[in-house]
Symmetry: C2
Subunit: 413 residues, 2 copies
């Protein structure tokens, strides 16, 4: 993989030109993407910029995010050839920081569950996960040092776990979702994929202009709460093993680690996530569902067919549960710097029929809290399994610091 922070250091020192840094990604895409299929379209002659913290950084953009100079097709024939007029704000944040868009990455149609043809670079017999399939795979295959994805259920953290890359789903609305095809306005969150936690921190800090998101001195003895989300069912062996190793590593590295039960209202929030998501999806995708029903991807169409009867009162009740759960969760961070849990039930499933299960992710999307996938553990078949580090809403710097602690602890095991 290409480390963003490493590229920055080499560009800063003059060892590497921005030209050469971009050319490295262009060549890597040419070399590897035929086998992986992470990109749906590529920028012609992507040019480096000469200023900004992300100069020389080639970026992949999930194809539900508007770009002014490349088509934006939402993973669906319904949007074939669609050309937005403007770049989405998240794309402009990258460009204003000096980054270069290398191309658009594959997305499941409308960021739902119907798989793309993208393969997992760690083992091409397995899914890379979804819905941000191409962005996770492009970083994992060493094609780009940074990519944008989005998460409504588990579409950033899960593919990152499956592909063995770091990723952050920042606090809700830290990165604007304007110009991103909407599935659920309460849940949709723009996130980043990169090689490691420091790379995420450098990328997020550059995009937001928030220096406090850069990693400072390493934290020494974080208080970590381990949550197993029993309401979401048991993990597979590989998922359980990844968490067990991370806990052990964190303890050895000096963390205070304690298992923690989540309050009932938080479990209830996990349960109502689909109500909220699907009620909003029926509105967000009303034009597609009502006027292009036959062209809708079959899994998403089926899901919308099933959820057509959700009433405003059900939705209001779900929102009320979510609000109460957010409040309850906030209180728990008085005693913990971060929570640690599964990024996914296990390693990437075999084949491309399913993009995997977001059941350990959806609660945290609904809570709006920053989540980081920390890769490290590798299961059978060379398949990576990450763990998820979570901090209080708005404390993205804390999530990144704790994630770096876990990343280094696991590396030293």
């Amino acid at each position: 993989m290409i480390s963003l922070a490493d590229l920055q250091r080499r560009i800063e020192s003059g060892e590497l030109s921005t030209d050469a840094a971009i050319a490295q990604s262009v060549e890597a895409i040419e070399a590897h993407d035929k086998a992986i299929g992470a990109f749906v379209c590529r920028a012609e002659n992507p040019r480096q910029q000469n200023a900004g913290p992300l100069r020389g950084i080639a970026v992949g953009i999930k194809d539900i995010i508007d770009t002014s100079d490349l088509p934006t097709e939402m993973g669906s024939p319904i949007y074939r050839g669609f050309r937005p007029r403007a770049d989405a704000p998240a794309v402009m944040l990258l460009k204003q920081a000096g980054a270069t868009v290398a191309g658009k990455t594959t997305t499941t149609a409308f960021a739902a569950n119907d798989p793309t043809a993208t393969l997992n670079p760690r083992n091409t017999e397995h899914t890379p996960g979804g819905s941000s399939s191409g962005s996770a795979a492009a970083v994992a295959a060493g094609m780009v040092p940074l990519a944008l994805g989005t998460q409504t259920g588990g579409s950033v953290i899960r593919p990152a776990s499956f592909c063995g890359v770091a990723a952050i789903k920042p606090s809700f609305r830290l990165l604007p979702t304007v110009g991103v095809k909407c599935f659920s306005w309460t849940l949709d969150t723009v996130g980043l994929f990169a090689a490691g936690v420091e790379d995420l921190a450098q990328g997020l800090s550059a995009m937001t202009g928030r220096a406090e998101l850069k990693l400072g001195a390493a934290i020494e003895s974080p208080r970590i709460g381990v949550v197993t989300q029993d309401f979401a069912g048991a993990p597979e062996l590989a998922g359980a093993e990844a968490l067990r190793i991370a806990v052990l590593a964190a303890e050895r590295a000096g963390a205070t680690v304690r298992e923690l039960a989540l309050p009932d209202i938080v479990a209830e929030a996990w349960r109502i996530h689909p109500t909220l998501q699907d009620f909003e999806a029926h509105r967000a995708l009303a034009w597609e569902y009502r006027t292009r029903h036959a062209d809708m991807p079959p899994l998403l169409r089926g899901r919308l067919d099933e959820s057509v009867g959700i009433l405003p009162a059900d939705y209001d009740a779900a929102r009320s549960v979510a609000n109460r759960a957010r409040k309850a969760l906030r209180g728990m961070f008085d005693d913990f710097d971060a929570l640690l849990t599964f990024s996914a039930p296990g390693a990437a499933p075999k084949g491309l029929a399913s993009t995997g299960d977001p059941r350990f992710n959806r609660l945290w999307t609904l809570m709006g809290v920053p989540c980081v996938n920390v890769p490290g553990h590798v299961a059978e078949g060379g398949l990576p399994v990450g763990v998820q580090v979570i901090a209080r809403f708005g404390n993205d710097a804390g999530a990144l610091a704790a994630a770096r602690f876990v990343e280094e602890a696991v590396r030293r095991m």
Copy 2:
């Protein structure tokens, strides 16, 4: 003006065909729009639907709201000829309820302050207000019974007041803003214009599928708090007179009316509205501002030029103030069913150089609370001046019920 509720009754009884109802609007647009300029483009042969509560209802859509079958030009040459692929969810909610889109109405560029050429139907020497200029004017001129607008500062309530029509800015996100050109994602709110309060209630109820938004039995003695928003400066004589008459009328009709001071934190929220709005506008409009600077409308460009230095820390502080103010405001509704205040400083300014001042509106947009403009008072030159009725967040039914109370009370004066 065409009353939506009245059309519904006549269609329901068989007295009026849906055909004839739509034809009435088409003819009215043909007769009046040359003089008013409320529409930027019109649907060719708009066809009635035969089912749904809004069958036979012709609607005007503000031209920052995406439509699949009509261009969406954002009031700016930067978007000349732009064709979105999909209808915005708010448009689909209308269509699914049976309504017919008659055309797109004028908007100030990007819903900011640069005036359109639309004239005020009450007195064509005056502005109709903005930014939803065309939607307010189209309803006021009797061209359509219903129109969609948006408000970020005061862009629904103010033009409604200037044009003498009823309007509601519902609770934040009651109507989705997906597919609506973003200025500020924290503030942008889709609203409705119609002839009277009952018409708004019928329209909003049909769009949302929320029967509770229809007006029930008249309320008898609402507790009304009058707020003069001194932090926003004094109103003009006509604004003060409209409020004085509404207070008197409400008291005579049986309301308990008491003047009320807003807590300091709420005044502080009024002050920080521009910080929040302009920080987000710099991101939402980054592509236009950075790559089409010369084509940006001059007032908006100047405003963005001036606010380029707002820091993330300023924005975070503003958000914190807004959150505390929302909490403080919520408590006040324990003692009051509704608040009553100015809809605008006074009557519509003369000429088209300014769309008027949103200073009595912006606080309420930031608070996310439902606001209704109640027309009634008419000042010199035949210029209407409305008053603004406000309820607790989420209590749109209460805002409409109180607005109807004030509307009838003023009518009986």
